[in-house]
Symmetry: C3
Subunit: 246 residues, 3 copies
Amino acid sequence: MEAEFKDAEIFKRMMDATGNLMSDVSIDFNEEGFAIKAMDPANIAMVLFEAKNSIFSSFNIEKPIKISVSLDDLNGILKLVKKDDKLKISDSKNKLVLDIRGKTKQHFTIPLIDENYTAQKIPQLKFTAEVTVLSSLVKDSVKAAALVDDSIYFTVDMPRLIISSKSEEKEFSQDLSINDNKEIFDMKSESTTRSKYSIEYLTKFLYSADSEKPIKLSFSNNYPLKLDYEINSDAKMSFILANRLE
Amino acid sequence: MEAEFKDAEIFKRMMDATGNLMSDVSIDFNEEGFAIKAMDPANIAMVLFEAKNSIFSSFNIEKPIKISVSLDDLNGILKLVKKDDKLKISDSKNKLVLDIRGKTKQHFTIPLIDENYTAQKIPQLKFTAEVTVLSSLVKDSVKAAALVDDSIYFTVDMPRLIISSKSEEKEFSQDLSINDNKEIFDMKSESTTRSKYSIEYLTKFLYSADSEKPIKLSFSNNYPLKLDYEINSDAKMSFILANRLE
Amino acid sequence: MEAEFKDAEIFKRMMDATGNLMSDVSIDFNEEGFAIKAMDPANIAMVLFEAKNSIFSSFNIEKPIKISVSLDDLNGILKLVKKDDKLKISDSKNKLVLDIRGKTKQHFTIPLIDENYTAQKIPQLKFTAEVTVLSSLVKDSVKAAALVDDSIYFTVDMPRLIISSKSEEKEFSQDLSINDNKEIFDMKSESTTRSKYSIEYLTKFLYSADSEKPIKLSFSNNYPLKLDYEINSDAKMSFILANRLE
C-alpha cells in the first residue's frame, strides 16, 4: 500500500481525534479508501471513521490491508507536517513509512504493532431523535454543563432541544428551539426523547469538530448516542457513546 | 432580588479579583447597588468593593439581602459570559440563579452557602501619604521587587516616590519624582512616609486593575496600605493590606 | 567596570542561552569587550561566547575583571528589560549593579559569587566537515529526530547532508543536497564524515539561534561538534558538544 494525501491536515485531524480516545489504532485500507472501527479501552465509546480514496492524490493498493500503529508515534510525526507539505504513507514489512515533503524531505519508519483488538462489530442502532446543530453550540453547552456535573442530558421535545445537567446542588439548562435558533439546522423526534451521556467523552469527540460546521446527534430514550460530522466531503467521522443510567 | 447587568464584564472583573483572595464571597445587595466587605482567610487583607445600581440595566429588590456563594462556582460560570452577552442574576430559595443570554440562553443555579464570616468592621484609617499613579508603573515595580524579596517598601519623600525592596544579598530600587514622571498624577505626604507590604497580596490586588488607568495608594509610616481603583464610574474597588514589620 | 549596552536584547539572548546550560556564569570583561568560556556541570558541553566592545554605547574598564553571578538572578532582571530600554551594568565591591532606564529607572544589585570553575581550557579541535545551514532547518530536523531517539547523526557525503536518528524500532532520516536545498549555504567535507550527538544539548544550543539566520556545524568522524552562530556582527556564540559513541 502506498498513499499520498491531497491534504494531510484531514488525516491529522482524524488521528488527533482518535488519539484522545485510544493509544493504538488499526486502519483498514482497501480500494475504496480507509476506515477505522475501534472501541475505546473502557468499552464505552466507539469510533467509526471513513475516508474515500478521493482523499488521496495517488493511491496504490494490491489487496486490503490492516495497519496498526501507536498513536503516540503517528501523531508525533503528523505534528511536524506543515501546511502545504505533502505526506505519503506506505507499508514495508513490519513498518509504516511516512514521507513528509516540504522544503526538505523527512523520512520516518515506525513499527507496526500486533493488533490486539478483535474486529469490532458495529452495533445496529435505531434512533428516535436526530438533531443537526452548529458544532460550537454543543461545545459551549458541554463546557457549561461540566461546571455542574460530569454528565449531560439531551432532550428533544419538538420544537425544543434542551441541553442540561444537574448535580445534587447545581443545575444548568439551555433551552433552544428550531424556530428561534438558526444554529439548529434540522431536528426530528418521534416523541419526547431524553438521554444522559458522559461529558468527558463528548469533549473528546468534539475536539476535532470544526466549530463553524454542523454535527449530528442521534439518540433515543436511555440509549446510546451517535455523533457524526464531516471533516470534508471525503472524510466522515462517527462516534458512538453508551448512555448513562439515569 | 433580580438584577441584570449593563456590562457583565465589570462584575466578572470584580469577582475575579475577589477569587484571588478568598474562596467564598458574600455580596450585600440593597437599593443603592451592591457591596462586598470581606477579610481574607489569613486576616491580612480586606476587600471593600462597591457598585452603584446604575451598573444594572434592570434591578428589582424588595429588601436588602446578603448572598453568599462559592467563588469557584460563580467564576466558573462568569468565564462563559462572552462580550455583548447579557447576564441576569436572581435569588430563589437557597439558590443563586444566573441567566446568560447571548446567541442562546444558558440557565444556571448554584447553591447559596452559609455565611461564616461575621460582619466585617471596616477599620478607620488615617493616612499621611497619598499617591495616585498609573497602575502599570506599580505592576512593573512589584514584579521587579519580587526578584529580590517577598516584600516591598513604598516611600514618599516629596517630591519623590521610592519603591524598593531589599534582602540580605540583593537590592532593588526605583526612584520617581512627580516632577519628572508623568505616570504620577498626584502625590502628597505630610512628611517622609515609609512602609513595607507583602508582594504576594499586592500582586493579587493589582490583578484586575487596568494597566492604563490610575490607582491610588494611601499609607502612613509602618501602617496599613489602602489601594483604590475604579473599574468604571459605577464600580469602585478598595483593598486594605496590613503592613509588615520592618 | 561600567558598561552600557547599545541593545540589551543581545545580552539577554546570550545569557538566556547560557541559562539553559548552567546555573552560574563567569563573564570576563577586558578592553576588547567580554567573553564567556564555561563547561556545563555534566562536562559534556562548552559555551564560548564573545562580544566586542562595539556592543556597548559606553564602556569604562580599568583592568580586566571576571564577574560571576547566578543566572537565576541575572536572567530574572533581564526579563524586565523592555524594547528600547537602556541597560547599564557595573561592579561595586561584591555586587553587580544593573540599571534599567526606560520610562522609569530601575536599579538592582545582585551578589557576585565565588567562581568555582577553574579556567576552562578550550580544546584544540580540527574538523573534517563544515556545514553552514539555515538555523530553522536544523531546528526542525532535531525536533523530528527526537521522536525516534535521544541522539542524532550528522553525515556529510558531498554533496549530501544527511540528518538522521535510529532506535531499535524507529527511524528518521532527512536527505539534503547543497545542489537542491537553498537552506544550505556552504558545505565541505574531506571524505564521508559522520558523528552522533545528544539531542537534548543541541536543542539547548539552538534555543537562542534566530531561525532565519545561518548556523555553522563543524565536526569530524566520531568527534566533538562545534556549533557557531552570530547574534549580530558584534556578538558570536559557539558551543562545543562531546560526540556520542556509536
